[in-house]
């Protein structure tokens, strides 16, 4: 039976966009007091894991790193059908960049023991670096295929996947254990079900901190993050109304010109 790990991130709900605050020192976006949701592409990753489980049997462990409220999204993953949920939460983990996040996730995955498959969304809707999957591959020494849009052959130890590249796709044959980051074209994630929530009553969330992973404090969180964010600022969207004058043909020419100029067509 496959042992699958799905990495999920708790990201701000889009409706909370106006409430987001930027930490003036770390330039990070604190997540402890805003509504969170499962990163949308991580739901595609979880859906793939659930599909494999339904097809051939698998155990699914969801891992998320974040402040205690991120436990809610782990709970949601359990309600969606995951078997186990692990929350990596410790003040020392705060402010982690993609590298420190991948390192901490990798250590947690190693602690789980034998794993066949690690699935991640291609990117998070907030940071959107797309680095965590590839960096996990370095720390775990697993092959990685990014931007997977289809699992073509997923039996045995050698899998074939179709993965996006610019203006086309790649067919990749890969030996397990492996890491795949997935796109939204892979599947349509299922929604929460009432019976799934009821079944998740029996499932526990395990929380691991710095001591549980036996990591030096300078390898995680802000201290373990080489990325320097020099600036992060709010973008203010403005709308302007412009009346186009002239005959109908002139108006059309002007309008098309403006759309081309704006890169819209």
């Amino acid at each position: 039976m496959l042992s699958i790990v799905v990495c999920v991130k708790a990201v701000p709900e889009p409706k909370a966009a106006e409430d987001l605050k930027i930490d003036p020192v770390t330039k990070a976006i604190p997540r402890h007091d805003i509504p969170l949701e499962i990163n949308p592409l991580d739901r595609n990753a979880l859906e793939a894991a659930l599909h494999f489980k339904e097809q051939a049997g698998a155990s699914i462990t969801v891992i998320s790193m974040g402040p205690p409220p991120a436990g809610d999204i782990v709970k949601e993953c359990l309600a969606l059908g995951s078997d186990e949920g692990i929350l990596l939460s410790d003040p020392a983990f705060a402010g982690a960049d993609a590298l420190a996040t991948a390192y901490t996730l990798a250590k947690a995955i190693e602690k789980l023991g034998e794993v066949d498959l690690v699935l991640c969304g291609r990117a998070s809707s907030d940071g959107a670096t797309e680095w965590v999957g590839p960096e996990l591959s370095v720390f775990l020494d697993f092959p990685v295929v990014t931007m997977v849009r289809e699992f073509i052959q997923f039996n045995g130890s050698s899998w074939q996947v179709k993965a996006d590249i610019e203006n086309g796709y790649r067919l990749v044959q890969v030996e397990l254990p492996a890491i795949f980051t997935v796109t939204q074209d892979l599947n349509s994630p299922r929604t929460l079900s009432f019976s799934g929530i009821i079944q998740s009553r029996k499932k526990e969330i395990t929380t691991w901190g710095l001591k549980d992973l036996a990591l030096p404090a300078n390898t995680v969180g802000l201290a373990g993050s080489p990325t320097i964010v020099s600036k992060l600022e709010y973008v203010e969207s403005k709308r302007e109304c412009e009346i186009i004058e002239g005959s109908l043909d002139e108006k059309l020419d002007q309008m098309i010109g403006k759309l081309v100029e704006a890169g819209a067509v």
Binding site: K75, L192, F194, S195, G196, I197, I198, R201
Partner: protein, 378 residues
Amino acid sequence: MIDFTLTEEQELFQKAAREFAETKIAPHVPEMEETGQSWDPVIKELGAGEMMAITIPEQYGGLGLGYTVRMLALEEIARISVATAMMMQVGGLGIDPIVLFGTEEQKEKYLPGLATGERFATVAVTEPTGGSDPKGCRTTYKKQNGSYVLNGRKCFITNSHIADVQVVLALDEDNPEAYSTFILEKEMDGFEPTHIEHKIGMRGCNTGEIEMKDCVVPAENLLGPEGKGMRVSMTAISESGRAGMIGCALGLQTACLEAAIKFANERILYGKPISRLQAQQFKIAEIKIDLEAGRLLGYRASATHDKGERAGNEYAVAKYFTTEAAQKAAKMAADIHGGYGCMEEYPVTRYVRDSFVLGPSAGTSDIMKVIVSRWALS
């Protein structure tokens, strides 16, 4: 200490219902609005989405989650489609009398299919003589050869044409004081759904008449003790029915608030969004105040109900308040839209129409005040 918060699990159920409504119900709303019918797809979705199983005990294939979760689910569905929430709520109203008063055989026969949505239910009490006076019921029954024979007509029945199982109130032909309820199945000889109503709002919600002409109902389909039918049907209406209408009203209020905020933030007048004008802010504040108050009233009543206590009076207060508030919210949301509030491409026009159907359902506002005044004076 009073805890006004939902549990984490209730919040998850709420989220599940919201995802369900936004992904499974919303796509069907335009066709329901356009045709006034097209209810079949959402009825199937309600079954597949486990929405009809919420209050059915687990031993009969249900989820056993109670009335607060049902109210939360109805609220989320009504936020997207009051018409769909109405059919769900009345479906539950048909289920409840069987849960509360059914024999073991009746529960085993009907509840599993109703939980999966394979079958759908309703309650039929209202007659052309009026719904506020159930004792004016002219549908009769008489015993004949070990069965019951029903004759009469019921009107304004939600799910009239789609319910496979209909709980019907009738008067003993030989005793003008004895009312009984029966479980009718749509295949029974002499039972027929007839006229389909075209309502001002809740388009796509099936409402119509049913007729019973010498309809022979087996003795085992008597629901509750003979002669106690008024208690059977009124218990369901006063609790599950009014609870359902509160959920529908709260969902509509939420939709009105969201539409009002969206429009007020987008509409520019005098060089700024109209949400910065105090006249519009006050309307939004009133919608919000009513919604917050309505939720407190509704959730308190359902929490009381979930504890196994009678909650008819609390539901009457909340039903009155929320359905009146929903009409007010719809009007104010439309007012904020100005001229656009008269254009059907804006959902607020639907909300205004839908809001008018909330009041009379499961007891008018005047009847609610009668109940509340009796409670206050007792």
